[in-house]
Symmetry: C2
Subunit: 212 residues, 2 copies
C-alpha cells in the first residue's frame, strides 16, 4: 500500500526538516523541501499526503509539525532493535553512525567470528562471538539485521538471523540472498553501485580528453 520509494523519500525529508529546525526555520514550502531533497515539489506534496499531515497554502508546512508527523509515520511501532553481523571496516563505519542515529532504531548487538574483535563495547554496542547470534537476537527481541560479512557467509548469516526472528535485513554483501517471504530485505551493493557510476561516467566522458 505504501511505496518503498515514498518511505525512502520521507526519511530524507525528515532529516532535512530536522536540519531546518536546528537552523530555527519554522515554515517550509514544498518546493523548498524538494530542492533540498533532490526531488520535485509535486512529489513532496504526494509523499506528505501519505503521512496524513496537511499544510497551509499560505505558510506552507510547519517544520516541527511535519517532522513530527513523518516521525510518527515512519516509526509508528515499537523501537526496532538492530543487530550487526560482521565487524570489519564496513561494520565499524555503521557503528560509528549510531550517535547521529534515531533512538527508535538502536544498534544493540554486533557479531563477529574473530575472537579478537568480540566481548567488548564499540560505540556503545556490545560485540559477541557469532556463535551467540541466535541466543542474543532472541533474548533481546532484535527485529532488524545488518549483514556486513563476506559474500560467502551472507546466505547463512541471513538464514540464522531470520530463524532467530529478524524480519528486516540490510545486506551489504554483493550476493543475492534468499529470505522467507515475510522478511523484508534491502540490498546495498557497493561494488555494483560503483560499476553503475563508472558506466555512466564512461558515457559522459567520451574519449576526447584521454591523453595517449
Amino acid at each position: 500500500m505504501i511505496s518503498d520509494k515514498t518511505v525512502a523519500r520521507l526519511s530524507v525529508y525528515r532529516r532535512v526538516l530536522l536540519d531546518m529546525q536546528d537552523a530555527g526555520q519554522e515554515h517550509v514550502f514544498s518546493h523548498e523541501l524538494a530542492a533540498r531533497s533532490g526531488c520535485t515539489a509535486a512529489q513532496v506534496r504526494r509523499d506528505v499526503m501519505a503521512t496524513g499531515y496537511t499544510g497551509s497554502p499560505v505558510r506552507g508546512y510547519d517544520v516541527a509539525a511535519l517532522a513530527g508527523s513523518i516521525n510518527d509515520f515512519l516509526f509508528h511501532s515499537e523501537a526496532q532493535k538492530v543487530a550487526l553481523v560482521g565487524i570489519g571496516n564496513l561494520g565499524r563505519a555503521l557503528m560509528a553512525f549510531s550517535p547521529r542515529r534515531n533512538p527508535r532504531i538502536p544498534l544493540v548487538a554486533a557479531f563477529d567470528n574473530d575472537a579478537a574483535k568480540v566481548n567488548r563495547v564499540i560505540h556503545g554496542c556490545r560485540c559477541y562471538p557469532v556463535q551467540q547470534l541466535e541466543e542474543v537476537v532472541e533474548s533481546e527481541g532484535i527485529r532488524v539485521g545488518i549483514i556486513a560479512v563476506p559474500s560467502a557467509a551472507a546466505q547463512d548469516t541471513a538464514r540464522r538471523l531470520c530463524r532467530a526472528g529478524v524480519v528486516g535485513l540490510l545486506n551489504f554483501a554483493p550476493t543475492h540472498v534468499w529470505v522467507p517471504p515475510h522478511v523484508y530485505i534491502e540490498n546495498l551493493d557497493l561494488s555494483m553501485a560503483l560499476e553503475k557510476v563508472a558506466f555512466f561516467a564512461g558515457l559522459r566522458a567520451p574519449q576526447k580528453e584521454i591523453s595517449s
Copy 2:
C-alpha cells in the same frame, strides 16, 4: 536510452556469471541466472538483449560469452579511474574491496584532511592531503569520485571534484548534493536504507511478540 536499472542488473549478472565460470559451468538458462540474481527470467532476457548478445534456445547462454558481452557493454570505454575522498572507516572499507574489483575501475587516489592518514599507501592506493585534490585528479585523469566525508563537507567535496573533471560521483554522505547536469551522481544513503528496513520490519512484526 539504456536504463539505470538495467545497468545495475547487468552488473549483478556479470558477477554471477564469473562465479559460474569459476565453478566450471559452461551454459546457463535465463531462469537459472534469474534465480541467482533475484529477478525474473523475462527480465534477464530483456537485459541480455540490451547487450546485443544472443543465446541458444537449447543450451541457453554460453557463460563465458555472455560474461564477455556484458563486460564489453558495461566497460566499453577507457578504464575509469576512481578517487576516494574521506578515509574513515567507510573509506577504508571501500579500499579493501579493491582486490576483488574490476581492473577497469581502478581506485588510484584517496584524500583526507587528517595529516596522520595521508602520504602512505593503503591497499595499493596512494593517500594524499585533500589540498592536492584538484592537482591529482587532473593529472591522473580521474573521472569518478567517491564521497565518503561527513555531510557538512559533502557539497564542497562534490564541487571540487566536478571542477577537476570528474563526471561520475558515488555519494555516501546523507545529504542531497547538487552537481552540474553533465555529472552522473548515485547516492548511497546508509542511514536512510536502515530506516527503510526498520519501517518495513515494523509493519511485518506487529507488536504481538513484544514482551512487556
